[in-house]
Symmetry: C2
Subunit: 106 residues, 2 copies
DNA sequence: TATATTAATCGTATTTTAACGATGAACTTT
DNA sequence: AAAGTTCATCGTTAAAATACGATTAATATA
């Protein structure tokens, strides 16, 4: 029974895990890559690019939004998604620092 | 029904997702941090450090082993775990490059 | 040799993810 | 006003993840 974890781990550990988990599915990686490519903000034509149902893409977008990596703006009937540079930088920092903690042994 | 993904995504996308997913749980982050601290290789006293059952820790270790981030060596009755520097570097590279792809917009 | 320790694996329960189609709300276009 | 787009959400299903205790195999110690 997957219990609440917040208790047992530090905020830092939890944040690292949350950010990493958001990248933990190839569809979400693909979505982000697509947002890179079309470096202006891009709307739901993500669905065209990725062979998954519209509702599934929407779910993945929601997951990315939840940790703050992306941000959606309603523009008429469409919604424009873009990467949140602030959180992207945070992720770079937090994970980069984590990666750098290990310098080598063994 | 979570279908096979290998088909729809590139190897790179899949690898990024697999590596990220391995970091996608605070217990695994905590395990890795513990391996950093005790920078010589360290055995199952991880169980002492993290408030989870032995079998659960074992499962998390298995997950980390699966992507190659850590590596266990049997030493008598105990097992000594350490980070695989090669894979750690790969992770740094692969994810670092991914992070760097986005330079900013919006 | 008998007992204890270590850690992987098994079996199980619960929760979360991932996927889809269908529906519905909001905005556009005709 | 009516019909069409767009996209979030709902409901559902199946699979994977998470957690635990119990068991087992291996090694170590008494």
């Amino acid at each position: 029974m997957p219990t609440a974890k917040t208790e047992n781990f530090t905020d830092q550990q939890q944040r690292i895990a949350d950010l990493a988990k958001a990248l933990g599915h190839p569809a979400r990686v693909a979505i982000l890559m697509h947002l890179f490519k079309t470096n202006s903000c891009v709307c739901g034509d993500i669905v065209e690019e990725i062979p998954l149902a519209q509702s599934t893409i929407s779910q993945h977008l929601k997951a990315l939004k939840k940790v703050g990596i992306i941000h959606g703006e309603v523009e008429g009937a469409k919604t424009c998604y873009c990467i949140n540079p602030k959180v992207w930088q945070e992720m770079k920092d937090v994970l980069g620092q984590f990666f750098g903690t290990f310098t080598g042994c063994c």
